[in-house]
Symmetry: C2
Subunit: 453 residues, 2 copies
């Protein structure tokens, strides 16, 4: 039997209740709330539900039967026959490419490399995640299995020793920045690299904080140029986004020292931290300054944004404040994607995937650098991550190259999109999103576009 | 080969670089970054990665080999032998009951009934969710398949016609309240039922809004008592939380009219909306005032908080503002749980689950009402949802009953926990969380405790 559809009977109107009821049921069929084949409640059940006499429901049903809108089957009940059939319920068609009506080869930065994600490993991880029973309780800190595999990931891939209790699950890096912003007093000044990750600045601004752009050079954030009076500094020391440089050790130490001296939090977005193809990693800011650094990581770039899962490692008082806030507000990072990531890691599939991912992206990077060199242009950025920067003489050239690329089917971003505009002009070329074959086909076009061809 | 562990070489110190390197590798083994069986990079690779001469890396390896900390296998490489073995990677043990060292039968409100969730259906849904390829792009509005099944759910179970574009995925009701709060000017006054859902008030306060407690009577929110000057009103018309009453039609109309006249948003938390066991549902506020009402639903109570997925239906300008905020801040409700819910719905398992859930909870409710009556006490609240309220003469009695229950193994909440304290005294008895057998065993104790036994 179906749910009784919403029926609003107005005893004060001149219209008989039976007529009102028949009208309401017809309207429910027209809107799709009732469907052909649905069994209606018995006249007695409906009368009780609506708190009307059985005469009212019987009269209404008689009317609908007479109209051929419903039909009675002896001993079984009254069924809807005149309404629309149930809509098909399968997944909706995938949305088309969102950015443009024309299909562009996506050469923007910040997307994952799905081509190397083994579909069998992906399915295995979901299956394993679903083999665990549903949770009854909220868990503000995140899924315990997830927190455990994150400690292992941090230790093995980032050299950061942490206990599961030191780790909080997040809904990703931007979500974590937004949460942390909520702990700062409104109007607080927070420094953000410029050019830098605009969504971090957006999350801070949305939380009513004041964003202070910080200069970046070939060694990442210029620590000496950070003004006083800040509450926090957000930076990407592993692979500065978007310029692609690693912060050297001396600056790391200087940053942590200033943070201690001036009472900042340092938000260390470990962007591309897992993706280096040459030099050894430097110690994380979180390892140098566990008392002042919040380390932020995400599964979105190394696996997929489907998971919506990330992590943070923070000093204990900050973690406590975040957990209190999550409990008071009832908002916690959803655990479904955490479970999938935990399963992917526990099976060893994640380690295999990361090896494959590094190999693939290192190869793609070489190909992109070659295509840029063929146009007589240099690239900037360390041998790391999933994008390179091509310096250009001025913003006009940058705009022209982006437009020319677009006209020839390449979805490209200029550096202008990643900052306030005070940074250097150039092109950002991401190479993770397309399939390898699609990327290889796009590279001669990129050479042309950069060569002015 | 393992990642090269973080190594910070100080050329200015008096210590030879080879000694520093050997120290760093030993430290990596001690911390667990390196493990027994790991293959180290070749001396040439490591020299390149660290930008030191090969003499330095060779000397360091020789030292470690001499110490027996590493061993060379001819033609294969150098392996760690003296470090700790890899930690087991399985899911962490489930945390114990969080609230108390003693195991209590959980009779609080707001938890789902996992006992009727068919494990096979749950596994099927995860499997189907993982059969879909990983997403490469963020999707601020939520998973398209999820939005489609939500429209079907709203139409069939709540009588609300909505197109997929009208629906935005959320990370749950509280998360949606927090997001909406971010759209209001700081300091705005938002009315919240008192007693009511404290986490909604918490989310509003955390967003630096001013919460105005609103009185509630046997017909839910007292619309006539809502003061002027509000930006929004949050309420639970389907089954007022915690008092358990349904808002009658006249009040619904009056609320929508005042919202229109005074420019409020009405946040309709459809708490327990799917869980009624007697009377027909009344039209949703969102159906009466689609121009002023934000309708909020969640999967947490009808399935499990594991999913971390909910939905909202809102007027178009508000949806646009939310999507812009999600895009600017890079925060979107994670899609993994949305996929699982979409699969659960598309297979028909969700409809079967809801029927089973209603049947089970209606039966449990009857048993609880009986146990309370056996203590000579009445219950309040409609035949709906997953909790009843037992009015008590005063707050002292309420505290005493909660304490007596706890002493005898019942985890109970008083009404004081759900408001500012201005509401009536009484006990909230939730009946969804425990297994049926556990609940049945707890009911005689509840009778005793309420009877003063």
């Amino acid at each position: 039997m179906v749910d009784v559809p919403p029926v609003l009977l107005d005893r004060g109107s001149g219209t008989p209740l039976a007529v009102q009821l028949a009208d309401a049921l017809r309207a429910a069929a027209a809107s799709g709330t009732l469907r052909t084949g649905d069994r209606l409640p018995s006249t007695r059940e409906l009368a009780a539900a609506l708190r009307v006499s059985r005469t009212v429901t019987s009269e209404a049903y008689d009317q609908l039967l007479a109209e051929g809108w419903a039909e009675g089957r002896r001993g079984v009940g009254t069924f809807v026959v005149g309404a629309a059939p149930a809509a098909p319920l399968g997944p909706a068609a995938a949305p088309g490419p969102a950015r443009d009506a024309v299909r562009l080869v996506d050469l923007r930065a910040g997307t994952p490399c799905l081509e190397v994600l083994d579909p069998a490993a992906w399915r295995r991880a979901w299956r394993a995640a679903g083999d665990r029973a549903a949770d009854g309780e909220p868990e503000p800190a995140g899924d315990p299995a997830f927190r455990t595999v994150v400690t292992e990931h941090l230790l093995r891939h980032r050299g950061l020793p942490a206990a599961p209790d030191d780790v909080l699950a997040t809904a990703g890096t931007s979500a974590a920045v937004a949460e942390l912003a909520g702990l700062l007093a409104p109007g607080s000044r927070v420094g953000v690299e410029d050019p830098g990750y605009r969504r971090a600045a957006g999350a801070l601004t949305a939380a009513r904080l004041q964003v202070v752009p910080l200069p970046v050079d070939d060694d990442g954030l210029v620590v000496d140029a950070v003004p006083g009076g800040l509450a926090a500094v957000y930076c990407t020391p592993a692979h500065q986004f978007p310029l692609g440089r690693r912060m050297p050790a001396a600056r790391r130490l200087a940053l942590v020292e200033r943070a201690r001296a001036e009472g900042w939090w340092v938000l260390e977005d470990d962007y591309d931290g897992e993706l280096r193809y040459d030099v050894a990693p430097l110690p994380l800011l979180a390892a140098l300054g566990p008392d002042v650094v919040v380390h932020l990581g995400t599964t979105s770039k190394i696996v997929s944004p489907t998971l919506g899962a990330g992590w943070l490692v923070a000093p204990a008082p900050l973690r406590t404040a975040l957990l209190e806030r999550r409990t008071a507000t009832g908002t916690r990072p959803p655990r479904a994607g955490q479970r999938v990531f935990a399963a992917l890691a526990a099976s060893g599939d994640l380690a295999r995937h990361l090896r494959r991912l590094r190999r693939e992206l290192a190869g793609r990077r070489t190909a992109v650098v070659g295509a840029v060199a063929a146009a007589g242009r240099p690239t900037e950025g360390d041998r790391a991550g999933a994008h390179v920067v091509v310096p250009l003489p001025d913003r006009e050239t940058e705009d022209a190259v982006v437009a020319a690329g677009r006209a020839r089917g390449l979805g490209l971003d200029g550096l202008a999109r990643h900052g306030t505009g005070s940074g250097p002009p150039g092109l950002v070329v991401g190479f993770a999103a397309p399939a390898r074959a699609e990327l290889e086909a796009a590279l001669p076009v990129l050479t042309d576009v950069l060569g002015g061809g």
